[in-house]
Amino acid sequence: MNFLRLAKRDDLPKKTEWLIRAGAILLSLVFSGLILLLFKLNPIEVFKTIIIGSVGSEMRIHQTIIKSVPLIITSLGVLVAFKMKFWNIGGEGQILMGAFAASYVALFFPEMPRAMALILMIIAAVIGGGIWAFIPAFFKAKMGINETIFTLMMNYVAIKFVTFLQYQAWMDPNAKGFPRIAPFPEWALLPKLFGVHIGYIIAIILVVLVHLFIKYTKKGYEITVVGESIETARYAGMNINKIIVIAMLISGGLCGIAGMIQVSGVEKTLAVGISGGYGFTAIITAWLARLNAISALFVCIVFAMLLQGGAYIQVNLNVPSTVANVVQGTILFFVLGSEFFLQYRLIPAKRILKEGKEAA
């Protein structure tokens, strides 16, 4: 390493930044192509099939949208917490608890107008997910307990709790012993617009709201300051514990909404599988979006395409869907790797001496 040096970039022009990103994606395609060749698959065909599988027909576009909605909303939730450097790994659990609370309204409340029912379900979901996030936030604020482990463990509690509901407490007696919860009544289902449940409209509204919240409100500013430097926030007289708790309520509440949309729009009932790993995938997408709500929207759509296209190649090309995972992993590797080159550059040591001298 004596002839090559790392140097921190100071100001990177936006154009170069995008060139580096584009280069990374290109490289990742070439590289995953090579891997596919190793499996004796035609990379061009695989890529083409992934795209066809995700946007090739109206039905597939619908499927891609359906997959992107929970991912977008969960990413927003994760992003609010991450902005504060509060590592909320508990998206899965918060989705499930939000879904549970919404399901309670759908299954046990008397019939009511659909609009009212949906609003009530969203409120219930926000509370459910919020409480699940509040518990670790409370312990973090009061006792400094590590939130990463705490939120992670809360996932398993939620999963087991919903499993218990599905297999015992709420099991549908009419399901002939099949472990499932009774389907929601019609008034508790999300209506469709252009063939897809309106979850995507909710998602877009939330993207805008979260963006405005972080950029233009006092609370959003406080969350950012706490994330950047707790000591500075303390010296500025901020009530840090309160900020942590509020941010986590928002974070968990958003994840809860994702759960509500899954049960009301997709599954039409509560099931253990509804969180579908979105709570974890959202961590990746939130980072890829550099904790920016608007970017998260686009990152999540691309991710959903990969998910949907991956499922499609399994059927269409008769290859395991893990092939799609390989492509996904390779793209991630290169895109995340390019972040490094956005902040540093490699230069030959000899040139540094020269440049330094000129600067001095």
Partner: protein
């Protein structure tokens, strides 16, 4: 033949050294030659490349270019161990000792030894070294029970035990009281008489003049000159360091109408372990006055500032501000009352500014709270940022530049400027010139004096006794969380303050008139 004799007299020779970190050229064509049996001072402002140079001599870094000779022989170190083997010992500013171990254990740690430690032999060797150089340490005392001075002595023994003949000391006096400094200088002279070479890194000119034989001045990464101390004068040294003439007068005006603003009455604060971090502290801050706080590092300075600002719970006592007891008020309420604090931590940014945010958003930090509603209004802060940048002559490409990209002096000006701009009644500043070069430090002193002229009551927590004595109207001395005295700097000597810093003497409680 003569050349070889000269070579033997020279302990260390560094020739045309280059070292860069990323884009930054930390050392550029630096030359240094240290004779056997001499005390050689390396003088330079922060960022002049002193530490980089010494880290190369102690094997922590490798030079990009250039040669190092030891006693005439060319060497190249691949690790600190290598440099220790060649008889070089470095004493870092922040001690590298293990608290829970005894002095003896700290000395032998990492040393090749027999399977069973021969405790007696080691104790004897440590004692020999101590006697030889006039050092004084109990081999079985645990490090956590030691004072700062004792810890430093132990560090010296540690490197001597490893056979060091060339000692590098990084800012050795920074944490010591005047008495401890005297003692250290005696030890240094002893070591010099025994043939050791001592390199001292420092920026304190008085000490350089007192202890060193020769001085090498570094400026912006290059060695400017090497001079004999006996022929050097302070003003010319400063000129070499800074590159221009600097007026070194700190003004101190006295004003009429000094009345108490804030009074701490028997304030006690406990630390995390339940010990008294502040012990019945009574102190008065008055308007038209700068009151200094002196003390060995970690004597309760931070707790003192945080107690006033409402940032830590107060165990006992009261703090009166304009007649009201402010104990129990939230930090936000205290800010609203007009008490502002700027605390410069060691990393400069951590406690008042957000490095990744621009100047405007750092100004917002103290403004947004008084705004109504939930929306963040930046407008007023933009105007304010522009005003502060202009008034304090902050060098920045724009008010939308990230604060962390500014130089240290400008960062500190942003912080101080923000606090001053709110027209505070009481201004608490801790270490406002930490890490600043001479020119920038004097600008900060001027700013504080301007505030004093406006009638602000200023509490100034400082490190440099010379500065405290020149700038402040009164100096409170802290020792282990207690105030051992409040003195008038015109009537005391540095040594007297030093005694108060160690708690060896005490001045009767100051009577508030």
């Amino acid at each position: 033949m003569e050349g070889r004799i000269v070579a033997k007299m020279v302990a260390v020779e560094m020739k045309s050294i280059y070292k860069s970190f990323g884009n930054l050229l930390a050392n550029e064509d630096v030359n240094l030659s240290v004779k056997k049996g001499e005390v050689h001072a390396i003088l330079g402002e922060n960022g002049a490349g002193k530490s980089t140079l010494m880290n190369m001599l102690s094997g922590i870094y490798k030079p990009d270019k250039g040669e190092i000779f030891l006693r005439g022989e060319r060497v190249s170190f691949s690790s600190p161990k290598d440099s220790i083997r060649h008889g070089i010992g470095m004493i870092h500013q922040h001690f590298k000792l293990i608290d829970v171990m005894s002095a003896k254990e700290n000395v032998i740690i990492g040393q090749p030894s027999d399977f069973l430690l021969k405790g007696k032999d080691i104790s004897k060797r440590i004692k020999d070294i101590s006697d030889n150089y006039g050092l004084d340490v109990e081999p079985d005392k645990k490090v956590y029970e030691m004072s700062v001075g004792e810890k430093q002595t132990l560090e010296i023994i540690k490197v001597l035990y490893r056979g060091a003949e060339i000692l590098i000391m990084d800012e050795p006096t920074a944490v010591l009281t005047p008495q401890e400094i005297k003692k250290l200088f005696r030890v240094i002279r002893n070591m010099k008489d025994k043939g050791c070479s001592i390199i001292i890194i420092t920026h304190k000119l008085n000490e350089v003049m007192e202890i060193s034989d020769r001085i090498t001045v570094l400026r912006k990464g290059t060695s400017v000159n090497t001079v004999e101390t006996s022929k050097a004068e302070i003003p010319s040294l400063i000129e070499m360091m800074v590159g221009k003439k600097v007026d070194l007068d700190i003004k101190r005006e006295t004003y009429e109408g000094v009345t108490p603003l804030l009074a701490m009455d028997q304030v006690t604060v406990k630390d995390a372990e339940g010990k008294n971090a502040l012990d019945s502290v009574s102190l008065v801050i008055s308007n038209y006055e700068i009151i200094g706080v002196a003390g060995v590092a970690k004597s309760g300075q931070k707790e003192l500032c945080e107690a006033i600002a409402g940032l830590i719970p107060i165990d006992k006592g009261r703090i009166f501000f304009e007649g009201d007891n402010i104990v129990g008020k939230t930090p936000r309420d205290i800010i609203r009352l007009g008490i502002r604090m700027g605390f410069i931590p060691e990393d400069r940014l951590g406690m008042g500014l957000v490095g990744n945010m621009d100047i405007v958003h750092n100004i917002v930090l103290k403004d947004y709270m008084s705004q109504k509603g939930i929306v963040l209004k930046r407008g007023p802060s933009v105007t304010k940022a522009a005003k502060i940048v202009e008034a304090l002559d902050i060098k920045t490409p724009s008010i939308y530049t990230q604060v962390k990209k500014l130089s240290g002096g400008n960062i500190q000006k942003v912080l101080l400027g923000r606090e001053i701009d709110s027209n505070p009644k009481v201004l608490i500043t801790a270490y406002p010139v930490r890490g600043l070069d001479i020119g920038a430090s004097y600008k900060i002193y001027d700013l504080l004096n301007e505030q004093k002229k406006k009638g602000v009551g200023i509490l100034f927590v400082g490190e440099d006794l010379d500065v405290l004595m020149a700038l402040c109207d009164r100096i409170a001395v802290l020792c282990h969380g207690k105030i051992t005295g409040v003195v008038n700097p015109k009537n005391v000597t540095k040594e007297e303050i030093g005694l108060l810093m160690t708690g060896s003497t005490q001045v009767e409680e100051e009577v508030v008139s």
